[in-house]
Symmetry: C2
Subunit: 485 residues, 2 copies
Amino acid sequence: MTGLQKLRERTGELSDLESVQMLLGWDQLVMMPEEGAHARSEQLGTLARLNHERARDEQLGEWLAEAEDTELDELERDIVRVARRDWDRARRVPEELAAELARAAVEGQQRWQAAREANDFAMFAPALERNVQLAREYGGRVAGDGLTPYEGLLGDYDFGLRADELRRLFGALADALPPLVPEAERCSPAHTLDVPVASQQRAVAGTLARLGVDRSSWRVDISAHPFTAWIGRGDTRVTTRYSDGNVESLLSSLHEYGHALYERQIDPALTRTNLGRGTSMSIHESQSKLWENHVARNAAFGELLAGELDAAGFPIAPAELHATMVGVERSLIRVSADALTYPLHIILRFELELALVEGELTVADLPGAWREGVRRLLGLEVPSDALGSLQDVHWGAGSFGYFPSYALGCLIAAQLWEALERELGPREEDLRRGEVEPIKAWLGERVHRYGRRLDTTELVERATGAPLSIDAFMRFVEPLARPRP
Amino acid sequence: MTGLQKLRERTGELSDLESVQMLLGWDQLVMMPEEGAHARSEQLGTLARLNHERARDEQLGEWLAEAEDTELDELERDIVRVARRDWDRARRVPEELAAELARAAVEGQQRWQAAREANDFAMFAPALERNVQLAREYGGRVAGDGLTPYEGLLGDYDFGLRADELRRLFGALADALPPLVPEAERCSPAHTLDVPVASQQRAVAGTLARLGVDRSSWRVDISAHPFTAWIGRGDTRVTTRYSDGNVESLLSSLHEYGHALYERQIDPALTRTNLGRGTSMSIHESQSKLWENHVARNAAFGELLAGELDAAGFPIAPAELHATMVGVERSLIRVSADALTYPLHIILRFELELALVEGELTVADLPGAWREGVRRLLGLEVPSDALGSLQDVHWGAGSFGYFPSYALGCLIAAQLWEALERELGPREEDLRRGEVEPIKAWLGERVHRYGRRLDTTELVERATGAPLSIDAFMRFVEPLARPRP
């Protein structure tokens, strides 16, 4: 076998191991009996170790060198280029550091959970301190020439992003969004909708069926937090959750559908290569946000959703449903934030984690900085750390550099949607009838099929003809601050 | 790390990989959307290759040699002894043969399926011929000194079994069982019970709950063929199937419960070692048969089952239910055979696969030999190969030496049950009340806790105080051929 063949065999193996890890994760959250948790963590630990060992294997370097000296076609060049990047990054992390990061992530998450329940930041502080130091060390090692440790961390989720670019985008958003909030709150309905869970379930099933979700290659289940697992071609699994008194399940099932569709529409030729999955967290999030913000929150699609709720035994005026779905109300909690204020929660976290990793903010000063940031960005007072800096699991689990993708996803979704409507024409008429095939085809062609062949920045520029900016998102949110007819 | 420590780390890894393979298999049969099948076979292939590669690893030999030179406690000695055995067997199979066996198993299974649907043995014959030759080669290589190829094959399922011992046991059964059949058929009810599926489901759930099956560490699902998966400590999953017009679901859920309980009661100290699972297929089958034949088919337990059916909306006299569950009716199909004639189906398959592997029967002569055997053992005429030699998947999938465990399980179950009642006293009173804790405790102590520390023959002799024989089983079936009050 040639170096390229061996390399491709290994990428197939690593791709299978990732799929298996995803299946174990899905099973854990959806099917596993609770007492299976300990055995599951052993199994996941073994798979992660095997994956890491085989991704940084000495031999891979030899195969890469041989492949790089060979005449390659375009696809092979991308496979080798991305394999080189992944291998170099993996090789920069010593085994002991990788093991220490894994241990600290588990222990940090446990400390975080206990601290949040006790509303006691001091209980969490030592674990967070350790995670920040480890993240700094890890980020510094994987960063490569000319990049900062924080940019090294970003590279795990969004290769090629620069901290300055994020500062610029998020700084502009932090200026532009807050002035819209008071007016948007005044335009929002005072009451939530009290849709029974059974009606929500039927409406979600009916809506997803219209988008092409069928039992032959999809599962739709319930879990404590909605998520999507792509186990392999022809095996996509989304989850949602239901609670009385809101329509979150409608928004979140469209959100997860966006993640799922991305993975399903990647070029089949990339299956079991190192290119056969979504290219970055921000592009992934742009796909979920596109279906959540620009389809589910579209007034025309709201007519269809109202029809589904009606058929499910909950008659409602389309305008009332739509008003609820685009309603704005400031909140202390990120995961329940509306479409307008959501990015403000992310900007806060980006500012703080950047300052932590760069050493400009101490762990001890974090709760105060959090309260100050919430005051500045949202105009709210934080009554407790449980509702403040202890609300998210990410830092406890050692994830730094992940948060920006949530807000970037909102920006990219808006920019893609404008490009799509520019080319296909306004979508209202189609959405009213539930016709989404042109949208799916456009996304498949411009975004999905590339897999990891294009990184975030290049993908956005090619698909939309312009560099990433906040403009399209601002045009999406400005109407939320205008009285509706 | 010492050789022993490295060895134990590797056995932990291999044990995790086996659990993961089992989870993927469970998911495929219970949860997976059908179009995920191709990706799943890739994932399972990758795991099998990794497992095989790491089980026959050169380094393992070095660690073993070092460990064998060390002062070891009793448990460590067993770990090293069984690891040596497994490694030696794995090393005797060249990579190319292992790969060819895997390919032939997949292709043979496909050919078998097509041939069975077409009722065309000739379509299957070339694949079977290839599987027989490969089995002979594989068996010869793994057999070790003084053993035949068929005994080498047996070793994968039941280490230490000898073909002569099987000939002796099965020969005695082939003489003793057929004379009982006509009388047993005369004593059996003429009609099956028409229990609605919904009532069966409620009765199965109620019965399993009495045996300790709860949601914190069990799952009970539906699949096309009932099976049990042990994913890890605290995570046991049984399946059953339901069809109108029979009570198979009651028998099969007790059967699967027996498999599950065995794995659950293995000494926790053996978790993630190479000893931490059931020791052989025949002991495993003895555990399922014990709960199926000696609990579910016990008249006293039948009273409890009738009560569950009654509570599930299907009132029935306990004696009528019991008569149905112990009814005998010869059939051409192994999987629907009753407690008395089931071993006759296995004896036929043992005789034929032994003759195939030993070269005393050609593939071309198999259908005729099958018909002759069914005539001799069951007194039935085989109208088609689909109802004859094409009915089981095993040979198509390359499994030779597996069938005997099904009949051995019946014999061992009967012998264990007699020993248990000798020590604990008759179980009727307890079973009538659903009290099974003493049975569970006795099985845990005498059978389950050992895991792979004892092989089949030694385990049976220690637990029952006698070598394996057909006597206890004959005492179990003889009453089936006597008129019931």
